[in-house]
Each structure stands twice: as structure tokens, then as C-alpha cells.
Symmetry: C2
DNA sequence: TTGTAGGCGTTATCAA
DNA sequence: TTGATAACGCCTACAA
């Protein structure tokens, strides 16, 4: 049960633990012959440095704690997590991921776990409760926020949602659409103004591009307080919004949905109504998560999910090694329209 | 930077470290007054037991290592992971998850990481390389395999795919379908006979139920060597199989796809061909992952993903605490047909 | 009811 | 080029 220790390796190789350590780390002077002898014992015994003991001694765990909002139903954060993992591993770090499931208390429990393991940095993707950010900050380790920040006291990586949303709108307008509906999260619903920028930008681009052309019409705008499918056994907000518009006999030739999940519901409603995409109605989503699995392949605004994770991990590790403490900064990545098959010329 | 230690708490409270330990663990005799004094210092200083030091001392990390096949594009294993996490946390364990992305070398790296952290048990969901199972076994800690086992030397949790697939077929037959197409992974393609049972059972139920009624027709069967969408920017095998059948003018009124991802591609092809689901063609998937996001809501065979994870974690923890070593065993969970909106009466 | 002290497996300093 | 040894923070006999 007990695994091989440096001491037993030293003993079997007839050297001191210091020498074994030098061999394992590949630094310091070790005679080639001695080195070989040690290496032989290491491979015979399957000796592997005990990270726990090493961390204790070094007062550095080489673990990055990653608090994840959730992985289901929206797989966006799964991509972020993959980015974090890929980068941390390339730098010799281990990622400890904790799923919050949108629950502030769970977020707190995750932090407690991280701190008890003395993680070297914490990444929030995304923070649920601002108090928890303050709590993390007290540990005096780097804290990074991804996508929706709730505090300006840490480094944070955000996305320029406006540019991508504007691209999407211009794409639709260029196709001749004049009646474009919108469904998304209502700006101001999030209890934190920093985190709200996402919805402000997405809806803002929609609003700006239409108002300027006198095409804005509140009757075909659905602003809810969430934009995921709450229950995976039923249709979500996207479905219900479109169904209502059909019931009200609203006219529209395109729908801009502020997430792929909402867009999935939009497609369900259109399908059920017997109309076709994009011949009758064009649909654009946001995120590029479900987009390639829907019928038709969904045109969407891609968020740089993997890159968000990588950048977060990179900043975390930079801060771990930094000599001096720099001021928290905001980094902004770009979103980008991906044209697939759910958008076409407006019906005349 | 340095966090509070048991020693400094003891010092500030004017007691010994042993007393602080007794208070922290809530065992042993401690005078109420002393206890309060210690607790006060603990909350003032934010002292938190150092899991690293504790693990070293106890020779138990309280970490379960979970090797994940992948989280994307198929979110099935995300659900398994949630099950593992939920159970381990309820038992005071921490889960260290490592994404293998289908790469045996990455699987090996994950194992190395786990072993260096002296995890108390390892869960494979699912193992990619049998050699890695042997490797894990050498560490003399419990090893559990989920869904597709590749070795009978460990506990393993499998799913009765046959029953669910049979339910699906009977559902279609009852709706009057006589021309039912199949798309899935080819039995025998997996390089391991143990792991192959999934495809054998799914296709077996299809085959058995049709042959018995003389409805089996190889021309509408597509057996590939993978059943996920390889590239998220394009359609996958499900799409191409159905498209080919249309080109060949094959007749079929229903498609049974061996995964929701394949079913998504099937829907894309049908949609592109201008037909409707379920009026023209019925579709059934497998997994219950993407099913609720597709249009129409997909009828599918649900795998007990969360339960697979929970069970794996439970067995792992039971083995950790077991006095004697029991023989590896196979546990079998059930799959279940979920009827939604993609299946209807056969066109006459 | 409380304290003392050794040791878990490493690392790193200092001597040799 | 190598070795002895003192920590790292915690737990737990064993003493008191």
C-alpha cells in the first residue's frame, strides 16, 4: 500500500536522499555513474515524487483552483475549463475544478476546498457571489475572473460582445431583413453592474443597429431573466418567446437569440409551426456551443471560450511568479460571427 | 502570504497544538472554556486545516482521481463527472478530474498526476488503454471502470443497453414502422471485447427485433467506426448516412441512431431534404444528452449518467474503507426509453 | 483535561 | 561530488 519514498530509493542505491533529489530534479552535480544507479532504482521501484510532501515543504501546491459556474446545460464553460487545463498542464500545474451549479453556497464550499489545499491561484468562471471574490482575495493569492466579473479588484478577462453582435446584425440587414426579433437576458437583471455588460452589449448592438434605421420594434423583443433552458425535459425561453409571437401574429423574418440554447428553442418553435429555416425565418445564436448540432447548422456569434480559459490560466501563473504586485487589469477578447446555414435572404 | 498554522493558533490561544487539533476534529476532551478560546482564535485568524500536511501525516489524500474520456462534443461524461463529484463531496472527498480527450498518452499523464498526488482511488470513465488500467492497478488502490470496461480485473459499472434499445424498437414497431434504419458504431470495431458490449447490445436489439419479423434490411444500416461528430464545424456520420440513403432512394420511415449526436446529424439531413420529423420520418437517439435541445424534442434512450458516476464514487469509497479485498465485480444499471416528439405513426 | 514530541516525504542549506 | 539535517504543518501516542 505504501508507495516508494525517496528514502528507500536512496537506501537501495546506496546514496543519500539529497543525491536522489538532485537526480530527480536534474540539477546540481551528480556523477554520471551515481545518476544511473539512482535512475535504475527509480525505474525498478516505480518511485514517483510525492506531490503532497513536496508541496508541504515548498509551501507551493502547484495547483490552480478553477470554480466553474456550471457545465450543463450550457457547455460553454466546459470549453473554458479545457482551456484552463491545457495551459496549466503545459506549465506543470494541476487544475482542481469545482462545479458551482450556480449556487453561491457551493461556490463558497469550493473556495474552502481550494484554500484547504493551498491552491496557488483561483479562477472564477464566472463568479456567482461578489462576497466570494472578496473571500478568495483574503487568501492573498492571485484571483482571476472570466467573462462576467463581479469585482474590479482582480484581473479579469471579458469579451467584446458588442462587435460580434453588431456583425450578426449587419449580416441579417445585408440579407434584407427588416423585421428582426430579439431574445436574450434583460440588461440590468444581473445583480451586479460589472457582470451586466454582456447583456448590455448584446442587446445594445441589436438596438443600435435597428434604431439607426428606424426598424426597432419592442413587440418582437423578449427579455427574460435567464437565457438557458431551465429544465432539460422541456423547451426553454427561446421556444416560448417565438410561440407567443406566432400567437400574436407578429411579423418577423429573423430572430437574433443571445445564446445557442435560446436559439435551439427558437428552432423548435419554428419547426413546430411548420415554417422552415432559413427559407421562412433566419436564426442567429450566440456562443457557438450547440450551433453545429442543430438543424440547420446554426449561424452564431462565437465566444473565444478556450482562449478565455487559457488566458485566465496564463495570467494566474504569471501572477504566481511575479515579483511585484501589479494593479488588477481587464483583458478583452473578441467575439466573431460564424456564418452557417440558418441565415438566408429575407422573404419578401 | 503564509497562511495560519495550527501552531500559531495554539500560541495565540495559549494552548498546545494537540488541543487545537482536538477542537478542530471535535473529539477528545477539551474544556468548554478552552474550546471557545481556540474557536475564537480560529475565526479571527481564518485558520483552516492544511489538507496537504494532513494528507502527508495520514498517508491518505482524500482525493479521488477521475479520468474522463472527454467532455466534448458528447456531454455524456460531463453528467458522469457530476455524479462522481456529488458523491465524493458528500463523503468529504475531493475529486481531481483529468480530461483524456481520447488520447492514451494523456490518460497515462493523468494517471501519473493522480499517483503523484497519492489519490485514494481512480475512476476511469472510460478507460482508453487497457495498459493504463494495469498501470493504475499496480498502485494498489481501488480502480473502478465506468460504462466501457477494458479489463475484468477491477470493479466496473456497465449499462444494460439491450433493454433500452429493445424498448425503442418496440416503440417504433408499435407505431407501425416496418422500414427502420440504423446508424451506430460497428460491433467489433473497439479493440477490446469487453468494451464492445455497448455496440453489440444496441445493434443486437435492433437486429433481433427486426429479424424476428423479417424486416431486417442491410441496405439501411450504417455501421461506422465512431459515433460522434468529429468536427464541430461540420456535420457528422449521422448526416452523411441519411444523405446517402436519400441519394440511393432507400425507403425508410424511421431511423434509430445509437447516440444523440448521430441523431442530430440525422435530423440535419432530413431537414435539408425537406422532410419533416415525425410526420415523414421518425427518429430515435441514444444517451439523452442533446435530445432536449433538438427540433423536434428527441425521443431517445436515456443512459443513467449521473447514477453511473455516483455508483462509481460509492464503490471507490467503499473499497477505500474495506478491511478485506473483495473480488472485482460488475454492476449493471438500466437504460430507459424517453418518448418525446420525434417519433410518430408510420406514414402509410 | 492538556501538553510533549516524533515522524509523514520532501527540499534545501551547509559541510565535508 | 556527496551527505547530514533541519524544517514544512499536522496528527497522535503517550505522559502528565
Amino acid at each position: 500500500m505504501k508507495s516508494t519514498t525517496i528514502k528507500s530509493v536512496a537506501h537501495q542505491a546506496g546514496v543519500s536522499t539529497a543525491t536522489v533529489a538532485r537526480v530527480m530534479h536534474g540539477n546540481g552535480y551528480v556523477a554520471e555513474e551515481t545518476r544511473q544507479r539512482v535512475l535504475d532504482v527509480v525505474s525498478e521501484t516505480g518511485y514517483r515524487i510525492n506531490s503532497i510532501a513536496r508541496s508541504l515543504k515548498r509551501n507551493r501546491s502547484n495547483i490552480i483552483g478553477h470554480l466553474l459556474q456550471s457545465m450543463l446545460p450550457n457547455p460553454f464553460f466546459v470549453k473554458v475549463a479545457r482551456g484552463v487545463e491545457a495551459y496549466t498542464e503545459s506549465q506543470g500545474y494541476t487544475t482542481l475544478t469545482y462545479n458551482v451549479q450556480g449556487d453561491p453556497a457551493a461556490e463558497r464550499r469550493g473556495l474552502e476546498t481550494f484554500l484547504s489545499w493551498r491552491v496557488d491561484a483561483i479562477i472564477f468562471s464566472t463568479a456567482r457571489d461578489q462576497k466570494n471574490i472578496e473571500f478568495a482575495l483574503k487568501a492573498n493569492i492571485p484571483v482571476i475572473q472570466v467573462e462576467r466579473p463581479r469585482s474590479s479588484k482582480t484581473d479579469r478577462i471579458t469579451v467584446n460582445n458588442y462587435a460580434g453582435a453588431l456583425e450578426a446584425m449587419e449580416h441579417l440587414l445585408k440579407l434584407g431583413h427588416k423585421r428582426i426579433a430579439y431574445i436574450g437576458q434583460k440588461p440590468g437583471v444581473v445583480d451586479n453592474k460589472l457582470a451586466d455588460y454582456v447583456d448590455i452589449e448584446r442587446f445594445g448592438a441589436y438596438q443600435d443597429s435597428l434604431k439607426k434605421r428606424n426598424l426597432f420594434d419592442e413587440r418582437i423583443i423578449a427579455l427574460g431573466k435567464s437565457y438557458t433552458l431551465g429544465d432539460t425535459s422541456a423547451q426553454g425561453d427561446g421556444y416560448h418567446a417565438v410561440k407567443r409571437w406566432f400567437d400574436e401574429r407578429q411579423k418577423f423574418t429573423a430572430v437574433f437569440a443571445a445564446s445557442d440554447i435560446l436559439a435551439a428553442g427558437v428552432l423548435q418553435a419554428i419547426h413546430e409551426h411548420g415554417l422552415r429555416v432559413p427559407q421562412d425565418i433566419s436564426v442567429i445564436g450566440f456562443d457557438d456551443t450547440f450551433a453545429p448540432f442543430l438543424a440547420p447548422l446554426l449561424t452564431t456569434v462565437r465566444l473565444p471560450a478556450h482562449e478565455l480559459g487559457e488566458t485566465a490560466a496564463r495570467l494566474a501563473i504569471e501572477r504566481i511568479h511575479a515579483k511585484e504586485v501589479k494593479k488588477p487589469k481587464e483583458y478583452r477578447l473578441e467575439s466573431q460571427l460564424i456564418v452557417r446555414k440558418s441565415t438566408g435572404k429575407a422573404r419578401s
